[in-house]
């Protein structure tokens, strides 16, 4: 086992705990936006797709990398736009509601 692998495993384990920790306090009404938002975040595979396409030596690698870039872009762009659209709905509140929230906060 290389040091490199060990470093990746460390990042992996810590991220797993962070992932569990931040989610455990989410009210259930936000579960759908949350799922959608995390869906967008794993669209970061776009970076991976860029790297493999950018280092493709053969035609096959090029084709696969190209398809991966398209799919990953769909994931990341679609994911963020859908989430934003969902959350937009939570914002449109009547003025009375806003006042109430402020009262609650104070």
């Amino acid at each position: 086992m290389s040091n490199q692998l060990l470093q990746y495993l460390t990042v992996f384990i810590l991220s797993a705990f962070v992932g569990v920790e931040i989610i455990s306090k989410v009210p259930s009404i936000l579960h759908t936006p949350l799922m959608s938002g995390s869906n967008a975040i794993h669209g970061v595979i776009l970076v991976g797709a860029m790297l493999v396409l950018g280092s493709a030596n053969t035609n096959l690698e090029e084709v696969l990398g190209f398809i991966a870039v398209i799919l990953a872009t769909l994931n990341v762009v679609g994911g963020f736009v859908v989430t934003d659209r969902m959350l937009e709905l939570f914002k449109s509140k009547s003025p009375s509601k806003k006042k109430k929230v402020e009262e609650d906060a104070s």
Partner: protein
């Protein structure tokens, strides 16, 4: 600072924004900001990647092709995400998740071809295999989940003779292929594994149906995260490992919370072919039994003179696009001094929180939405429980009938209200395909018709009084 360090720094910033975003997504006030922050981090990461150089100081090849691919992605994704009906949200999440899984599988397999000549270590091959396997299962599984929700195919569980045996064969084949590839490092076998994983994804999802599909999407979302993390190991990218693992870990937790809300364990949801055991309750209960139905006038008057109405919305409301009419009815009732609250079952709609999104769209005030546990304690004080387009989430069989497939699922105790009003299109059972005894209860009144029409009529009655 060298170029590589700067890029890594950008990745670190991006990874941090993802963590902040997930945290913000947990609070109604900051959720939208969180999403924007993550999008910003993502843009930074993508931008930085364009400046990537390999160990020999060579930049990325095929950049024009890359830009074309991204342009295609944007042109397809933005309109789909912007203009799809809000009720179709779960399908959209399913399909965007699926393509992410597909991308992760392709990244892994392409990287494998690339590094194969260098005789990679066994653990590197294992990372590739996991990326391909999990990513592909997520891809084909999400495609089937999409088809089920979009009603391109039946939403019911699909079972066939020998299902377990067939599943076992493909599962064992995957294991055998993994071992064989670890030994031989064969690209051909890797493609066979991809094909096998594709079929596995399909047969894994086919027997899951009805109300369980949302839980499934959450699980597949988590799968894609893990596939991305596996690709991150292969590519040596901390960013991919962090982001993928965050999603994988939080997705599994979310999946558990969702199955808990349905009172069932995850293995039970995944492997029990839910709706196929309906016969236990459905048998005797023919739909020709007498029910009490009322006119909009009867029901409107009844509601106007009550003191507390609890509204229990379900997916049928969204299908009929009746959210605004519902809010109008609530406002009319409140103008007459009636106390109105909404009881939201955790799995109302098609995903947890889906109903909140739908009602928020119709400007229903956020604080009127009560979660199940909160409302169940005082539902007995309500004069009327108004069930709009919901069914399974108020079915008392979940509490009383151990033979029912939904037995043990937490429900909203609509049956404890003094009167129950159902707005229903027909006597057809709900998404899970189970007969609802509450419909035949003497204190229940049914108003048949499209939910939106019925609500509009009720508004007119209450207004006219």
């Amino acid at each position: 600072m060298s170029r590589g360090t700067l890029i890594d720094l950008a990745y670190l910033v991006a990874a941090t924004t993802f963590i902040i975003a997930l945290k913000f997504l947990g609070s109604p006030k900051r959720a939208r900001l969180g999403n924007l922050i993550a999008a910003g981090g993502m843009a930074l990461a993508v931008l930085a990647t364009f400046f990537h150089q390999n160990a020999n100081g060579k930049g990325l090849l095929h950049i024009p092709l890359m830009l074309v691919g991204m342009a295609i992605g944007v042109v397809v994704a933005v309109p789909a995400a912007r203009f799809m009906q809000i009720t179709a949200m779960p399908q959209l999440v399913a399909i965007f998740n699926g393509v992410g899984g597909g991308a992760a599988a392709l990244v892994s397999i392409t990287e494998f071809m690339h590094i194969k000549s260098g005789h990679p270590a066994t653990y590197v091959i294992l990372e590739v295999l996991l990326g391909v396997l999990i990513g592909t299962v997520s891809f084909s599984g999400s495609a089937i989940a999409y088809a089920k929700l979009q009603e391109l195919m039946t939403g019911r569980p699909i079972t066939y003779p020998g299902q377990q045996v067939i599943n076992a064969i493909f599962g064992l084949a995957a294991l055998g292929l993994i071992v064989a590839i670890l030994v031989t490092a064969s690209t051909v076998l890797l493609w066979v594994l991809l094909a096998d994983a594709f079929i596995l994804g399909i047969i894994f999802v086919l027997p899951i149906g009805g109300a369980d599909v949302p839980v499934l999407i959450s699980l597949l979302n988590s799968f894609t995260g893990l596939a991305v993390a596996a690709s991150g190991f292969t590519l040596g990218s901390n960013l991919l490992i962090v982001a993928g693992t965050l999603v994988g870990a939080s997705g599994i937790l979310l999946t558990r919370m969702m199955s808990k809300a349905m009172g069932r364990s995850l293995p039970n949801i995944l492997f029990s072919a839910f709706g196929s055991v309906v016969t236990a309750t459905g048998g005797a209960a023919g739909s020709d039994r007498p029910v009490r139905s009322g006119t909009p006038e009867d029901i409107g008057v009844m509601m106007a003179y009550s003191s507390k109405v609890i509204i229990i919305p379900g997916y049928g409301l969204a299908v009929a696009q009746g959210q605004s009419a519902l809010r109008e009815l609530a406002e009319e009732l409140e103008a007459r001094g009636v106390e109105v609250e909404y009881a939201i079952h955790p799995v109302a709609g098609r995903m947890p929180g889906h109903m909140n999104v739908l009602l928020a769209e119709a400007n229903v005030p956020y604080e009127k939405l009560k979660e199940m546990d909160e409302i169940n304690s005082d539902i007995a004080t309500a004069d009327i429980a108004l069930v709009v387009g919901a069914n399974d989430t108020v079915n008392p069989a979940a509490k009383n009938d151990p033979g029912s497939p939904i037995y043990g699922m937490p429900i909203i105790n609509a049956d404890q209200a003094e009167n129950v009003v159902f707005l229903k299109r027909s006597m057809r059972p709900g998404f899970a395909g189970i007969e609802n005894e509450l419909l035949y209860d003497p204190k229940t009144i049914l108003l048949f018709g499209d939910a939106k029409d019925s609500l509009t009529k009720l508004v007119a009655v209450v207004k006219g009084m």
